[in-house]
Symmetry: C2
Subunit: 247 residues, 2 copies
């Protein structure tokens, strides 16, 4: 038995946007070496992060599955939602802490990048004060999507704004007008509003719609060409490339 | 000899922010398979992208080195600069095109991500109309930096703004006040101005300064703790984490 006690680490492992080949070499290595792997999923589903990471996991790891208490989007301002989600994250953090206290590192699978939206940060909030935490950067959904769309986004001194599709129409329009390049996330049922806002500020014609970027069901098309009445899945985004820099 | 003529591809390969382990599996594979590898560098230097990619290259590849005509920053609005850079990119694109026309794919090494700032896009602009182009997403400098800083950035409905440090002080302050989270790039000699703008809008205390993130000379510290008179290298940025989302 080793005389050196190694500190257990909570890893936030970015697994990228969907294509398993878009994990970093470092993420693949840490997953191989992790005794415990944790991930979030909706009840009854395998979970995106678990699906993406599957080729990188072997059968010897202990898996911790955290089932979200909600399966549909609830406004983040709903007090009951916030309270229940907070309790949920407390429980998840507690399950992870048991392993860390026993000296076993835990790797949490993070869709995209660990600190760019997503659920890992709520675990980090609760555990970083007591334990060693490390993040492995991941390919964000937006990078995966603009690469898949072969779409140059930001040149020179362009300003990029990342906007949630949940913003009010007037705010969305203003933010779009003020940025050089933009990414609109959480499109889903917000698409008609997003489309109108883009049209209002003259950006509809350069906007690109990407659905399930880098995955088998990927679909990419000019937003203006897309049937406005067709619903969009949650995992969709709109890319607005910036002005061209000096050539 | 194969009867199938494969189309040569211009690859924009994201090599990430500095740590060679932060290349994606896909980038590593494409680099191994590429007969020709191209990269930009300043005269007399190895070049960041070439340094990062070095462990992933073997001796059999033909290397195309593109030496920037300028070694210091010139304002992008300078007409002579724009004209000379444009001519430079024309020449680089021409050298790449010779290989593509002969059926040899070319992989261009892109620091960070190929479509998020950087020089590759000027080649893409010139060649995408005639040749097959593909981009491999890379870990952006900002993702590398916030992971290295163990710094959660965006929760829930946060808006993220990516701002060049070259913005006028008043514009910078306004953009910072309007965003939930921000990344300020191209810090370098702009740091005193950036620091004043952050202070003006009450964000100095949460700002984090990162220099050469993910590289051996990495330095991370609260911006407020840093000596305001100490110059900052070009490869530095300031991270302003967002408000906390629902917990």
């Amino acid at each position: 038995m080793s005389a050196v006690l190694e500190t257990a680490v909570l890893w936030g492992v970015g697994v990228g946007p969907g294509d398993p080949e878009l994990l970093t070499l470092k993420a693949a290595r840490v997953l191989r070496e992790s005794p415990v792997v944790a991930f979030f999923a909706k009840r009854g589903c395998v979970g995106n992060a678990r699906t993406i990471a599957d080729p990188h996991l072997h059968g010897d790891q202990e898996e911790l599955r955290f089932d979200y208490p909600f399966t549909v989007e609830v406004p983040a301002t709903d007090a009951g939602y916030r309270s229940e989600m907070s309790g949920f994250y407390d429980i998840c953090a507690g399950r992870i802490a048991e392993h860390l206290v026993s000296g076993r590192s835990v790797a949490v699978l993070c869709e995209g990048d660990p600190f760019f939206y997503g659920s890992f940060m709520y675990l980090h909030d609760r555990l970083a004060g007591r334990f060693s935490t490390r993040a492995i950067a991941g390919i964000t959904g937006m990078s995966g999507c603009w690469a898949a769309a072969d779409l140059p986004m930001t040149h020179g001194d362009d300003i990029l704004s990342v906007l949630p599709g949940t913003l009010e129409a007037a705010v969305l329009a203003r933010k779009l007008a003020e940025a050089d390049a933009a990414v609109i996330m959480k499109v889903g049922r917000n698409l008609p509003k997003i489309r109108r806002a883009l049209d209002r500020v003259g950006l509809l014609d350069r906007s690109v719609y990407v659905e399930r970027g880098t995955m088998a069901a990927e679909r990419i098309e000019p937003l203006a060409a897309r049937d406005p009445d067709k619903p969009a899945p949650y995992f969709s985004m709109v890319l607005v490339p910036g002005r061209r820099g000096a050539r």
